[in-house]
Assembly symmetry: D2
Homo-oligomer: 188 residues x 4
């Protein structure tokens, strides 16, 4: 990751969903922040970006990592630009983390946060470290393994509160698709 | 991860493939070591464990993380117990990291390294830190994201040589399955 | 399949997309008709039903099988009930077959075609034979293999114009994920 | 499919598994026969060809369609050429249909049935109609939908005993990944 990081710009938001109060990045110092920029009618966001963001939220402790969705509509405004449409989408796709609606630009094209971060499209993923520095931006797909490692690197930079990722180990009692356990009679 | 770690037992090996010289764990101090215990006729190893081990080798720097396969045959010895069978398997599945053949037990059942580590079956994954302590064992499947994070945690414990995971970002020029880039005319 | 079939009710449609002229089922006698009922914010439709309908259109000859989408909105009307929203969706998901917008019911809930066919939800798939009889309805997922067989059974009922499904054979020249070709020197 | 079909050559087999008696193709007149030629160490066979053959056996009635595996070893004979190795493989991958071991050639390379059918490699799939004519050969991957249709075409050629493919419909009671059912209160 680029160590010459820049302070992450504050989100410019017209509305929030899945949170009772707006979230200011500046008040989240001490946490790693993952921002998933998406559009509800972007196929790559639906099939890849948003499920990955959900896996991040499930894998890391909420005490260490905050996942935020950013609905940055830059096309099809009439179809995906309303709070009602986004609310229905989040409900159907069972997305529970806070989602910000990126404030529309004055010229009706690139919304304001998307422009401030110079995002190249959706899905984009922004990683912000515990000190509020923007450390990484991905456009398009990135592997879960590389992303898990990058987030853990940021989590590990604060010596005081290491995160212990949840070990999602499948416990098997027979030889199935996941593996072959030793029979009780075999291990002596 | 368990901080009350134990020194990792040395591998007890009857033969090595994909390496010109045997590997002693004790000589790898300073590296994180990932051991993937498998059997060539274990479906979960073929479909999940081994591809994941290959992704580990591709994601992390070889200077930081060493991936070793461990062929721990505890059933179907006649079918998968020969060097010739394993050689053919590694060739067909294009597995390039070093693979140790776990030394058969004297009673013909659980091989010796598998018994020493008290592995519950295959696939199993063992994580050893830079100081040679066994820090984690997984039996069955574990998510790429959690595993990437765990390995990165171990990589990060040595302050001198941080690993930079390869960012495998898909660079897209049109709106495709991976995402929707901003058209050049849109971002002003 | 149920041989006591009923004549398929005509679609009750408020608008059409991806076709220059409305489609009357009665004018399609001689073709097998596959109707994919969906909602654009239904996850199972997006991930399963619609891609399967596209595979049907790609596998069978257009001379034998007509695939029609039916947008039957029964929830989230404000988010997915407009022609603009559906147009954007079809564009982003690259769905090219004709799509009918199911006529809203007078009470604002179950649209009229969906009610006439007593569909249980979305995605649903309706198979109509060459004589205009409704022969099968599926709610939820059905395997490609069973569905390919069912459609072919209907195609085969007309003796005059058998369809030859496109053989989408992957032609490989080396031993790859798809298979192991015989080396030229091996087959003598 | 090619209507100028040839009579299918009899299998030349050194041994059978998963059947108490050898199978002669000539004695199966009246059934469609699907032969899946594979090697146990062929990755494309393990990940694609054999699971597809199992889906064929599950989708079509055994009264109409007979699925036979053909282990045609043309490389790595020492690793995959024994009955013991194949027995272990079939057990671990839970393959239940009859499997023939293709008779080795006298020169130790292409086995005899593979040579007789001029198969290009593994996996290969051979379709034989109810009258014993070889109607289609696929090398590499073919889609489930096209294959289901091709098999059904052959099944349908005999007027006396039509097959009814099992409708593997997922029955859902809530809005889940598979679909959105109409609430009981909605459909009036």
């Amino acid at each position: 990751m680029n160590r010459q990081a820049l302070p992450a710009a504050e989100l410019i938001v017209s509305d929030w969903l899945n949170t009772s109060t707006p979230i200011a990045l500046a008040e989240q110092r001490g946490k790693v922040i993952v921002i998933e920029a998406f559009q509800m009618l972007c196929p790559g966001c639906v099939s890849q970006g948003l499920p990955q963001a959900q896996r991040i939220a499930e894998t890391f402790s909420a005490a260490d990592v905050l996942v935020i969705g950013l609905h940055s509509v830059f096309e099809h405004h009439e179809a995906q630009g309303t709070r009602a449409a986004l609310t229905a989408f989040l409900h159907e796709y069972r997305i529970n983390f806070p989602v910000a609606i990126d404030a529309p630009s004055t010229d009706g094209r690139i919304p304001q946060t998307m422009a401030a971060y110079q995002l190249r499209g959706t899905p984009s993923l922004i990683l912000i470290d515990r000190e509020g520095q923007c450390r990484e931006q991905h456009f398009g797909s990135v592997s879960d393994m590389a992303l898990g490692a990058q987030i853990m690197q940021l989590v590990g930079e604060a010596s005081s509160s290491h995160s212990k990722p949840t070990s999602m180990v499948h416990e098997s009692t027979g030889c199935d698709d996941h593996g072959c356990p030793v029979d009780q009679g075999e291990q002596t």
